[in-house]
């Protein structure tokens, strides 16, 4: 579903950051927790008709619907490439960028998000309020915890807050959505793009799964794409297909208007449908009553934070603190292995009111347990070869075999439980000791 954008060869040398797959994509089918929530519906025969509308209806470029507080300015998503600067002032972004500086702010003045009222949008509006109502209801319900905050994030970036609805089509606001090509999170970032926008993605931590951080990254990415293409439909198309793909379509068609590109064969159907789907869901978001939807606004799950040592195992910690593992993991979705990263402390989120219990649970750690038998004892044991320092790829069974003892013994001597992991650097007692009974 997601087409990776292949970068020009010369860019690969220029910057690791740019050697990124630039694709973040809508996920079709693969994301939902069940078949009941496909994110894009297979188009029936009339879908094609909807995309090949005849004549003037299709040429209506964009039509501003009532925008409420956002609607002070009319911004058409036509062919202008540089965002209009109020009062003809010079484009600060251009100036800053011309200096080659990496900047983290952009003064985009286009606060409005114009929704096109054209046959494609109408097609999805009909579908979302008709045959796909259940799916959209699910998205809307799921958005309750995130939408308000996401709108805030966009507003704080100086962007139209209705861009938040992009996540509705990306993932149905599912923060742990995973596509089959590896796009992850509510905003369906590919790893390389996520890193370019400041998200940590490695074997321990995946911030694409953090609703807030990934929204901030998505806002920055959409801001950049707007600056590149000059309209939100094109920016969103590039968010879906990658900017090279959109640049190529612009070049081939000679048009800088998304709706014109959408009639060409240079964008894939997924991308052609992505933008009208967002517009349709934005219309629903503007007037939920009119379309029979109800948007709730729930507080994000609240949490307290606590600094924990490196390599803290959430399962073990939750067990010791008498908390549900699922709860602790849900509060820390970015810890993909259920263990905090090695090497440095980590700020862990724990349920409100449970901080003290977690602090208490942190005290008896396994390393300490081994050490309680006495430093001298441990030193003596090490000298006598009774302690094994775990190296990478070691397993308990391998260690037991190596020292000619049973796995059960190793487990017992080291007070390990079956779900415990051993990690490089751990010291395991591998022989019977006088202090062990």
């Amino acid at each position: 579903m997601v087409k990776m954008t292949k970068l020009p060869a010369h860019m690969a040398n220029q910057s690791r950051l740019f050697a990124a797959a630039l694709c973040v994509s809508i996920v079709i089918g693969a994301v939902g927790s069940g078949a009941a929530e496909p994110l894009s519906q297979p188009a029936p025969a009339d879908a094609q008709a909807a995309f090949a509308p005849d004549g003037p209806g299709f040429d209506v470029p964009a039509c501003d619907l009532p925008l409420g507080s956002l609607g002070e300015r009319h911004v058409s998503d036509g062919s202008s490439v540089v965002p209009a600067a109020d009062g003809g002032a010079s484009d600060g972004w251009a100036d800053a960028y011309a200096e080659g500086s990496r900047i983290s702010y952009v003064a985009i003045t286009a606060q409005a998000y114009p929704v096109a009222l054209n046959p494609q949008v109408q097609f999805f509006l009909d579908r979302f309020t008709g045959t796909s109502r259940d799916v959209v209801t699910l998205w809307v319900n799921r958005s309750a915890r995130y939408l308000t905050r996401a709108r805030e994030v966009f507003r704080m970036h100086g962007l139209p807050e209705e861009l938040a609805f992009t996540a509705m089509i990306e993932s149905g606001f599912k923060p742990d959505a995973v596509s089959r090509v590896g796009a992850k999170g509510m905003w369906q970032f590919m790893a390389a793009t996520a890193r370019r926008y400041g998200l940590r993605v490695d074997r321990w931590v995946d911030e694409r799964l953090d609703p807030e951080r990934s929204t901030v990254a998505a806002a920055a990415y959409l801001r950049d794409l707007y600056n590149l293409f000059g309209s939100w439909p094109l920016a969103q198309a590039a968010y879906n297909a990658g900017e090279v793909k959109v640049a190529r379509a612009i070049s081939k068609t000679g048009s800088r208007d998304f709706w014109t590109l959408a009639q060409s064969r240079y964008l894939r159907r997924e991308t052609k449908e992505f933008v009208p789907q967002i517009h349709a869901v934005t219309m629903i978001g503007r007037e939920p009553d009119r379309y029979g939807f109800e948007f709730d606004d729930l507080e994000p799950a609240s949490a307290e934070t606590i600094t924990v040592p490196p390599s803290t195992d959430l399962r073990r910690l939750a067990g010791n603190a008498g908390l549900s593992v699922a709860t602790v993991r849900a509060l820390n979705p970015t810890l993909v292995r259920g263990v905090t990263p090695p090497g440095r402390t980590w700020t862990l989120r724990v349920p409100v009111g449970e901080r003290e219990r977690v602090v208490a649970a942190l005290a008896p750690r396994r390393a300490t347990v081994v050490a309680t038998s006495g430093r001298n004892e441990l030193t003596r044991a090490m000298a006598s070869g009774d302690v094994h320092v775990v190296r990478s790829r070691d397993t308990v069974s391998g260690i037991a075999r190596r020292y000619g003892v049973s796995v059960d013994d190793v487990m017992r001597w080291n007070r390990l439980e079956s779900q415990d992991r051993i990690r490089p650097g751990d010291r395991l007692r591998v022989a019977h000791s006088t202090t062990d009974r």
Partner: protein, 79 residues
Amino acid sequence: MRVEVRLFATLERYLPAGSHAGIAMLDVPDGSTAADVARRLGIPAGLERVLLINGREATPERSLAPGDVLDLYPPLAGG
């Protein structure tokens, strides 16, 4: 030889005076590369991010032929 150059977004400011809609027709020496044209327009080296020649991705070292269409986009700022 004459080539068509289309600059996008923040690169538009590098178009010669009198250009319209981000497009300029430029007379450049035969055998000029895309990078030569960018330099001629005063675009700092490496500032272009997506480079297309006749609608296909290309490297800056690619030589242009008369009538070629060169599209240049700036890089993304990143996070």
